[in-house]
C-alpha cells in the first residue's frame, strides 16, 4: 500500500495547498511535497527487484491489487507495482516536484494556492502513470496529467499562454485517443478477460489470440499487431515528442512558467518514452524485431529528432526555446536506444530518461533564475551576466556541459550507454545498418555543444550589458539551492550510474530474453 500512500499524500498536499492562503501556500506545498519525496526514497532503499513488471510471475515490489469494476465481462482493477524501470522515474518525479515548487517561490506572484495545489495534483497523476499496471487505471492517470497542465500553462504562462495551453491539450488528447483505439482493438483479439497489463503482455508474448474476434476476420494477427503498434507509437510519440510531432512542445515550454517547464521537460516527456518502452517495445517487441521496415522507421525518427531538434535549437535566440528544442534532440537518443534492443540500449534509454529529466530540469530552472533577475531570455538582449550572478552562471555552464555529455556527469552515462547499446545492436534495418545511424546520431552531440557554447558565449560572458531597466543582482538563496541540488544529483549519477542502472538492467533484461536482441 506504499504507492497508494504516496499518491494520497500528494492529493492531500494538493488540497492543503489549495485551501491555504496565497502567502503561505508555497512553503506549505514544499513541506507537503517532502512527504512523497521521503516516501519515494524509502521505496528506493527497500526495493527488491524481481525483473520486469509486465513479464514476471513473481510478486512485484510494493504491488497491490484491488478489484474495481466489471464492465462487459472484462475485469478492471486497481493494480500498481514498481520495477526497475518505473522506480527511478517515480524518484525523479518526487525530486523534481519538490525542487520545482521551491523554484516557483520567486516567479509565481499571483493565485499561489491554486498554482501549488495543481502542481501537487500533477505529481499525484504522474506517480500514478509510472506505477499503474492496469490499462484503464494507467490511462486515467495518463489523461489526468493534462488537466493540471492545461491550467498551469493557461493561467500562469506568458503572453501566448492560451494558445499554447489549448495546443498542448488538443495535440496530446488526439494522440491518446488514437493510442486507446489501437490498444483496445488489440486486446479484444486476445484470450483475456482483463485489462491487467502484465496479463496482456504475457498473452501477447504467447500469441494467444481469439479465433472468433471480428477484426481477425478481415486481417491476420500480424497486421493487427502492426496496426496497433503504429497507432500506439503515434500516440506516445506526440508525448515524447519526436519530429514531426513536436510542434506543441516549444510553444508550451516558452509560454509555461519556469517550474512548469521543469516538470514538463523533466517528467512529462518521459511519460511518452516510458509508455513506448512498456507497450510498444515490451508487449509488441516482435513487430520491431521481425519487421525491418518498422525498425528502420523508428530509428530514422530517432535520428532525425536528434539532428533536426539540435539544428532547430541552433536557430533560436530565446534561451528557453534553445533548451526546449534540445529536449527534442535528447529524446531522440532515447528512441534510438529503445530500438537497439540490447541491455545497454534499453537500459541506456531508461537511464537517459532520468538523466535528461535532471539536466533539462536544471537548465530550465537556471534560465528561470536568470530571467527572474533580468526579465529577458533573448540571447541578443543580454551579455556578461557572469559578472553579476557568478554562482548561477557557474551552475548554468556546468549543466550545459552535462547536456553535452561531459564525463562524470549523468548525461555522459546516459548517452554513452545508448551508443554502446546501439552499436552492439543486431536489430535489422531495411536500409542501412544500425551502426551507421548510431554514428549519425552521435553528430547530434557536436551540434548540441555548438549551440550551447555559442549561446553561453553571447549571454553569459563578455562585458555586462542588459537592454532593460532591471537591477541585476545575485539570485536569492531559494532560487539557487534547487539548481545546486540538481547539479549535485547530475554529478552523483554521472559518477555512480549504477545507483539506478543496476535495477534498470535487471528489469530490461527479461525483455531481451523474450527473443531477438543480444
Amino acid at each position: 500500500m506504499m504507492i497508494e500512500a504516496l499518491i494520497a499524500l500528494c492529493l492531500l498536499g494538493s488540497l492543503a495547498a489549495f485551501l491555504a492562503p496565497n502567502r503561505v501556500s508555497g512553503k506549505l506545498a514544499f513541506l507537503a511535497s517532502l512527504l512523497p519525496l521521503g516516501g519515494s526514497i524509502w521505496l528506493y532503499s527497500g526495493f527488491e527487484n524481481v525483473g520486469n513488471a509486465l513479464l514476471t510471475d513473481q510478486q512485484l515490489a510494493y504491488e497491490s491489487t484491488i478489484a474495481w469494476a466489471t464492465v462487459g465481462g472484462y475485469d478492471l482493477s486497481w493494480h500498481v507495482g514498481l520495477d526497475g524501470i518505473s522506480l527511478p522515474l517515480v524518484v525523479l518525479t518526487t525530486i523534481l516536484t519538490s525542487l520545482a515548487i521551491v523554484s516557483a517561490w520567486t516567479p509565481i506572484d499571483e493565485r499561489q494556492s491554486q498554482f501549488y495545489g495543481l502542481v501537487l495534483f500533477l505529481e499525484a497523476a504522474l506517480l500514478g502513470v509510472f506505477s499503474a499496471l492496469d490499462f484503464f487505471v494507467w490511462f486515467i492517470f495518463w489523461e489526468a496529467v493534462l488537466v493540471p497542465m492545461y491550467f498551469l500553462i493557461g493561467v500562469w504562462g506568458g503572453p501566448r499562454r492560451k494558445y499554447a495551453a489549448i495546443k498542448m491539450f488538443v495535440y496530446t488528447n488526439v494522440a491518446s485517443l488514437a493510442m486507446f483505439i489501437g490498444f483496445v482493438a488489440l486486446v479484444f483479439g486476445l484470450n483475456v478477460t482483463t485489462f491487467d497489463m502484465p496479463t496482456i503482455a504475457q498473452a501477447l508474448q504467447a500469441n494467444d489470440f481469439a479465433t472468433d474476434y471480428v477484426l481477425l476476420e478481415f486481417v491476420d494477427v500480424e497486421t493487427l499487431k502492426l496496426a496497433a503498434f503504429a497507432t500506439m507509437f503515434f500516440g506516445f510519440a506526440v508525448k515524447v515528442p519526436v519530429v514531426p510531432l513536436h510542434t506543441w512542445l516549444p510553444d508550451a515550454h516558452v509560454e509555461a512558467p519556469t517550474p512548469v517547464s521543469v516538470l514538463l521537460a523533466g517528467v512529462l516527456l518521459k511519460m511518452g518514452t516510458y509508455a513506448l518502452l512498456r507497450f510498444n517495445f515490451t508487449m509488441l517487441d516482435e513487430v520491431v524485431l521481425t519487421n525491418d521496415v518498422v525498425a528502420f522507421a523508428i530509428v530514422a525518427i530517432g535520428v532525425v529528432s536528434v539532428i533536426y531538434g539540435a539544428m532547430l535549437a541552433l536557430a533560436q535566440s530565446d534561451l528557453k526555446r534553445i533548451v526546449a528544442y534540445s529536449s527534442v534532440s535528447s529524446m531522440g537518443y532515447v528512441i534510438l536506444g529503445l530500438a537497439a534492443y540490447t541491455t545497454f540500449g534499453l537500459g541506456g534509454a531508461t537511464f537517459q530518461m532520468v538523466s535528461h529529466g535532471l539536466i533539462s530540469g536544471l537548465m530550465f530552472m537556471t534560465v528561470g533564475v536568470i530571467y527572474n533577475e533580468t526579465h529577458t531570455r533573448m540571447v541578443g538582449d543580454i551579455s556578461g551576466i557572469a559578472d553579476r550572478m557568478p554562482l548561477t552562471v557557474g551552475v548554468f555552464v556546468a549543466g550545459a556541459f552535462g547536456y553535452m555529455g561531459l564525463p562524470l556527469m549523468s548525461g555522459f552515462a546516459g548517452e554513452f550507454f545508448v551508443f554502446k547499446g546501439a552499436f552492439a545492436s543486431s536489430t535489422q534495418l531495411a536500409f542501412g545498418s544500425m551502426q551507421l545511424f548510431t554514428a549519425l546520431a552521435m553528430f547530434g552531440i557536436v551540434i548540441v555543444a555548438g549551440y550551447l557554447l555559442w549561446a553561453m558565449q553571447r549571454t553569459l560572458f563578455g562585458e555586462f550589458r542588459l537592454e532593460t531597466d532591471y537591477e541585476v543582482s545575485r539570485a536569492p538563496v531559494h532560487d539557487v539551492l534547487p539548481i545546486m541540488t540538481l547539479l549535485g544529483l547530475v554529478i552523483v549519477f554521472g559518477v555512480a550510474p549504477e545507483l539506478f542502472f543496476e535495477m534498470i538492467r535487471e528489469s530490461v533484461d527479461p525483455i531481451l530474453e523474450l527473443g531477438g536482441g543480444a
Partner: protein
C-alpha cells in the same frame, strides 16, 4: 416470474408510482391555499417524492429485481428489469437536481405547483418509457413525457424566446409523434401485433412482399426516437428549445428526456426487430443507426464549436452526446457482445445525466445572477465565485471526456464496446469528435479561469442561492465519485442488457 423481493409483483412499479402520486399530491397541496404558493413546501414535497422514487429504483436495482427473469405486468404491457430500474435511477437523479435548481430559479414566478407537477408527470412518463413492452405503451408513455415538456419549455410566459421555443418544440414534437404513430401502424399492419416479442415472432419467418411496408414502419419508428433523443434529422428543435427554456428545464430535457428516448429505443428496436435478422426487414435499422450516430455526433460537435452563447453551445453538445449514445444502437452485430454495447451506452447516459444537468444548472445560476449569456460574459467569473466555477470546470472536462471524472470512463467504455464488436471506425469517428469537443468545452474553462473579468462583473454581488448551489455541488461530487464507483453498477448494467438479445 418470481420476484426476488417478498412483495407482490406490481410493487416493482414503485418508482413510477411514487413519481405519479407526488405529482398529484403537489397539485392537491397547492389547492389548499392557491393564492399564496408555498415555494419551499412545493419544492420540498417534489424533492422528497423524487428521492423516494430514486430510493426504490436504487434498492430494487441493488437487490437484483428482474435480474433473473424480468417482471412482466398488466398483460405483458409493462416490464420491470434491471435496465428499466437503472433508467429510473437516471431520470430521478436528474429530476432531483433540476428540482433543487428550480427552487431558486423560479423564486418570483407564479404557477409553482404546476411547474413541479408537470415535471413529475414527465418523469413518470419517462420511467414508463423505460418499462414499455409494446408499441402502444411506448407511444402513450412517450406522449406522457412529451406533453408536459412542451408546457415546461414555454413556462416563462412573458419571455418571447421561451414561448417561441415551446411552440417550435410542440410543432416538431407533434409532427414526429405523427410519424412515430404511423410507423407503429405500419408495423402492426405487417405483424398483427404490438407486443415487442410478438412482433419479433410474427416477422421472424420473413414477411414476404410486405417487406417494404415493414421497413418503412421501422424507419418511422426510428424517426420518433430520433426526435425524443434530439438526433439528426429531428434535432433542430433542440437548440431553440434548450436556449429558450428555463435553464433547469433545458438540463431536464437534454439529460432525462434524451435518456428516456434511448431507453425506449433500445428495447423496441432490439427486442421487436432482432439484430440477427435486421437485414431481412427491408431497411436495416442498424445501418440506419450507424448513419444517424455519425451524422449526429459530427453535426452536434461542429455546430457547438461555432456558438457564441454558452447555453446554445451546450444544446449542440447535447446533440453530439446523443450521437455518442447512438453508438449503443449502431455498433450492434449478429453474434457480437451486443449487450455490452447497449450497456455502455446506458452507462454513458447515466454519467451524462449528472455532468450535463450540472452544466445547465450553472447556466441557470449565471442567468439568476443576470450577468449575460455569451462566453465573454463568463470571463473572470472564477474571481467572484470560485466554488461554482470549479463545479462547472468539472462538468466541462467530464463532458469532454477527461479524467478524473465520470464522463471519461463512460465515453471510453463506449468506444471500447464499439471496438469489441469490430466497429473501430465508429470509435475513431467518435474519438475525432471527442477531440474536437475539447476545443469548445475548454472555451468555457478558459473564460472562467484564464481571462480577465469584463466590465459586467464590476458591480456584481455574488449571491449563493441554496438550491442551485446544492444541485451544483451534488452533480459535481457525483461526476467525480462515479469514476471510482463504476464497479457498483457497471457489471449489473452490462449484464442486464444481455437479455435484450436472448429471445
Amino acid at each position: 416470474m418470481a420476484a426476488p423481493l417478498n412483495y407482490p409483483e406490481y410493487a416493482a412499479l414503485a418508482p413510477t408510482v411514487a413519481l405519479a402520486l407526488t405529482a398529484l399530491l403537489v397539485l392537491v397541496v397547492d389547492m389548499i391555499d392557491p393564492g399564496k404558493p408555498q415555494r419551499l413546501l412545493l419544492a420540498g414535497l417534489s424533492m422528497v417524492g423524487t428521492l423516494v422514487s430514486m430510493g426504490f429504483a436504487a434498492w430494487f436495482f441493488a437487490a437484483g429485481t428482474g435480474a433473473e427473469e424480468a417482471i412482466v405486468l398488466f398483460g405483458d404491457q409493462l416490464v420491470v428489469d434491471q435496465m428499466s430500474l437503472f433508467f429510473a435511477l437516471i431520470f430521478t437523479s436528474v429530476t432531483a437536481l433540476v428540482i433543487a435548481a428550480s427552487y431558486d430559479y423560479l423564486h418570483d414566478h407564479s404557477y409553482q405547483a404546476e411547474f413541479y407537477s408537470l415535471m413529475l408527470f414527465a418523469a413518470t412518463g419517462m420511467t414508463l418509457m423505460a418499462s414499455a413492452n409494446g408499441l402502444a405503451v411506448a407511444f402513450v408513455s412517450l406522449e406522457l413525457a412529451s406533453l408536459p415538456s412542451y408546457a415546461l419549455v414555454a413556462f416563462l410566459k412573458k419571455n418571447k424566446g421561451s414561448v417561441e421555443a415551446g411552440l417550435k418544440y410542440f410543432l416538431i414534437g407533434a409532427l414526429s409523434s405523427a410519424v412515430f404513430a404511423y410507423g407503429i401502424s405500419l408495423v402492426y399492419a405487417v405483424s398483427g401485433s404490438l407486443q415487442f416479442d410478438a412482433v419479433a415472432a410474427a416477422i421472424s419467418g420473413g414477411v414476404g412482399d410486405q417487406v417494404g411496408v415493414l421497413g418503412l414502419g421501422i424507419l418511422m419508428v426510428l424517426g420518433g426516437f430520433a426526435f425524443k433523443t434530439a438526433s439528426v434529422p429531428f434535432h433542430f428543435w433542440a437548440p431553440e428549445a434548450y436556449e429558450g427554456a428555463p435553464a433547469p428545464i433545458s438540463g431536464f430535457l437534454s439529460s432525462a428526456s434524451k435518456a428516456a428516448g434511448f431507453a425506449v429505443a433500445f428495447r423496441t428496436l432490439t427486442v421487436a426487430f432482432p439484430v440477427a435478422s435486421a437485414g431481412a426487414f427491408g431497411v436495416d435499422w442498424v445501418l440506419a443507426a450507424q448513419v444517424l450516430a455519425v451524422v449526429t455526433m459530427t453535426l452536434g460537435n461542429f455546430a457547438a464549436a461555432t456558438q457564441d452563447t454558452v447555453k446554445r453551445m451546450l444544446a449542440y453538445s447535447s446533440i453530439g452526446h446523443a450521437g455518442y449514445a447512438f453508438i449503443g444502437l449502431a455498433a450492434l452485430t449478429a453474434g457480437g457482445s451486443n449487450g455490452f454495447v447497449v450497456g455502455a451506452s446506458i452507462i454513458h447516459l447515466f454519467m451524462y445525466g449528472f455532468m450535463n444537468t450540472g452544466a445547465f444548472v450553472f447556466v441557470a445560476l449565471v442567468e439568476h445572477w443576470g450577468i449575460g449569456r455569451t462566453f465573454e460574459d463568463y470571463n473572470g467569473l472564477s474571481t467572484k465565485a470560485p466554488v461554482a466555477c470549479v463545479a462547472m470546470t468539472v462538468f466541462m472536462f467530464s463532458l469532454a471526456g477527461l479524467p478524473p471524472f465520470g464522463g471519461f470512463i463512460s465515453k471510453y467504455v463506449l468506444f471500447w464496446a464499439a471496438i469489441g464488436n469490430g466497429f473501430w471506425w465508429l470509435a475513431a469517428i467518435g474519438a475525432i469528435n471527442s477531440a474536437l469537443s475539447l476545443y469548445y468545452y475548454s472555451r468555457v474553462v478558459k473564460a472562467l479561469w484564464f481571462e480577465e473579468p469584463n466590465g459586467n462583473l464590476e458591480d456584481f454581488e455574488v449571491t449563493q442561492p441554496v438550491g442551485i448551489y446544492a444541485a451544483l455541488t451534488a452533480a459535481a461530487v457525483a461526476t467525480v465519485v462515479l469514476l471510482p464507483a463504476l464497479g457498483l453498477f457497471s457489471g449489473s448494467v452490462t449484464e442486464a442488457t444481455v437479455s435484450l438479445f436472448t429471445p
